[in-house]
């Protein structure tokens, strides 16, 4: 990993970012056929189903969806953070070839924070309110690198400086409540980066932040991923953020991926009516006033089960009887995946257009 020029030697050799055991081009994270079911007292609910995607070193991959789309459940499944009781997880989550679903708790604990790190939406609840932020970063450094106290402080200050926190040395002794929301989020990123993870999972990392702060935080994230050659899995509802940050985009609806594509083709010619509908329904800063918006009718809670229909069919203008009686499969062509009987554009037409 491109360790930032540090004077403090790390007692343990750090695996090189992206050049670890994985061969170049091989995915770092491969999710295959992930299925998460919540088995409640009265009924079972399938929150995520047939979800497959890959994240390669140096790649930014986005998971986009609205509430109830299963994007957060997917990220929690990858991190092994779902409760064991009442949840059934099946499929494979291969990290560097190792199935995380089969790994025991000890192994997961080692991986989490060391090789896979996570940044959550709410920085206040993710930080311990009674421990100074410097100590919280230090804890990670001690656990994974066994650094000494002095080294830890040194490194923690470097990390804070790296994520753009002014006067990092003095901030080390601050408690989370003394920092603003944006700074807290940056502290979380610093903690996530403390052990130079190979995969960073960011779940709505900027949703609670103002746009100018969001721009700063996204900037820091992108720069760090670039620099360290790590991979980023970004979970968000904001298509604008995805357009600026992600290389590959997975659009989720009601627990399944409905469209999978590199960002430029996706935004230039969305093929799934849901993706297209989303893009047509959000006001864009660069369109003149008065351009009418075309909303998607209904609400995201208005779905039918995927098992015998397209879950989006109740809200889809293109839906016909096939959509209401047959479950569409995710079909791949030209590096794009699509789960739809009546796409807005066909992949073949797309290739020509490009």
């Amino acid at each position: 990993m491109a360790v930032p020029t540090t004077t403090s030697p790390t007692p343990e050799p750090v695996p090189g970012g992206g050049a670890g055991p994985a061969t170049p081009g091989a995915p770092l994270l491969e999710v295959r056929d992930l299925r998460v079911r919540f088995t409640g007292r009265d009924r079972a609910v399938t929150a995520v189903d047939e979800v497959s995607f890959t994240v390669s070193p140096g790649q930014n991959v986005g998971l986009v969806g609205e509430s109830g789309s299963g994007k957060s459940v997917t990220s929690m499944a990858v991190m092994g953070l779902l409760p064991r009781r009442g949840v059934e997880v099946s499929g494979q989550i291969l990290f560097d070839g190792e199935d995380l679903l089969l790994a025991d708790r000890k192994r997961l604990d080692r991986l989490r924070g060391r090789e896979v790190a996570m940044v959550f939406q709410d920085p206040m609840t993710s930080l311990n309110p009674v421990v100074p932020v410097g100590t919280q970063i230090g804890e990670v450094l001690q656990r994974h690198f066994g650094m000494r106290r002095k080294e830890r402080r040194e490194r923690a200050a470097e990390l804070l400086a790296k994520v753009g926190i002014p006067d990092p040395r003095r901030r080390l002794d601050d408690h989370p409540h003394q920092l603003s929301g944006g700074m807290r989020q940056r502290v979380l990123i610093a903690i996530a980066l403390a052990c130079e993870p190979r995969l960073l999972i960011a779940d709505e990392p900027t949703t609670a932040l103002d746009v100018t702060i969001q721009a700063q935080v996204l900037d820091v994230l992108a720069e760090l991923v670039d620099e360290a050659g790590a991979a980023l899995l970004l979970i968000t509802h904001d298509l604008g953020v995805v357009a600026g940050v992600c290389d590959e985009v997975n659009v989720m609806y009601a627990g399944r991926i409905v469209e999978q594509a590199p960002r430029r083709p996706l935004f230039r010619s969305p093929a799934h009516p849901y993706t297209g509908g989303l893009l047509a329904s959000i006001p864009r800063l660069d369109t003149p006033r008065g351009r009418p918006l075309t909303p998607i009718p209904g609400s995201p809670t208005q779905t039918v089960p995927w098992t015998d229909a397209c879950a989006f069919s109740p809200r889809c203008a293109h839906a016909d009887d096939t959509c209401r009686t047959t479950s569409p499969r995710l079909e791949h062509a030209d590096g794009r995946g699509l789960r739809c009987f009546h796409p807005l554009t066909t992949p073949a037409a797309l290739t020509k257009e490009l």
């Binding site: 919540f38 009265d42 609910v45 399938t46 929150a47 509430s67 109830g68 789309s69 299963g70 957060s72 459940v73 929690m76 959550f120 939406q121 709410d122 779940d203 709505e204 009601a254 627990g255 009718p297 209904g298 609400s299 809670t301 208005q302 779905t303 039918v304 089960p305 015998d308 229909a309 069919s313 109740p314 809200r315 009887d321 209401r324 009686t325």
Partner: protein, 320 residues
Amino acid sequence: MSIPIPPAGPSTTPGASVALDDKDLEGGLSLWQGAFRRLRRSPTAWCGAVIVALFVVVAAAAPLLTSYQPGSTQWAGDVTTTEIPGPSADHWLGLDRYGSDLWTQLVYGARQSLLYGVISTVLGLAVGATLGALAGGFGAVGGRFGTVVDATIMRLVDIMLAVPSLLLAVSIAAMLGQSGTAVVIAIGAAQVPVFARLLRGSMLAQGKADYVLAANALGLRRSRIVMSHMLPNSMGPTIVQATLNLATAIIEVAALSYLGLGAPDPAIAEWGRMLVAAQDRFDDAARLAILPGVAIAITALGFTLFGEALRESLDPRTRR
């Protein structure tokens, strides 16, 4: 971050229209109705309700459950300094130290405990909730006048709260003399601060809610905002507390009797006094203490279980 749980309830059938509303036919379920529905499905609520109902039935049907009169000491001759007759065919649970039938005493005791417990709690709730609603209502509306009313009421309540509840009860009982009324007033008075503070607190919290702001923006009258917006949304915790307080009240009735401040007529069976009477005969007739004790505990448990279930069903977070 939240785990989005996909939509509850039946989904639309295939081919359903894209109309906004897919649940036209059902619905119209208010929060209270919803809470009641959840309550009916809660095993804890059923446990509590069954226990409470059992004791109510026993108290109401006491004359049918025993052929003896309470407080009658007709078998006093059978009681000796060393032995109290145990269970027999005539006396299912044996006699007590005064020569009364223990089963009869227990059954009639349920009347006293429940009656005193319920009346005192209702009294405490009525006075406490009124004070709390006044303080909360005026406090939330604000202004100099509102703040003064709120502060005055709450200082009064603070003074009441500063006196330990049992001590308060003892002094009221001492003032009014030994009577059932004194017991009820004493226990009720001790509960007033609890209800007043609780209701005021939730009213002030509701006063900051968006819908109260909305009601203000709509130009509703202040009295209406307090009565039909803040108050109904603040009552939940207070009602739950009242149910839970019933349990404590029953124990306090027993405690006051135990301290000799209960109803003066020894002919009236009362669980607390039965406990007192039993204590110096604990070695040779432990059942005299254990049985009323168990009765008190089970009744209190019944109310507690029901109260807890009520709390859960009223809490919107448990809504499914």
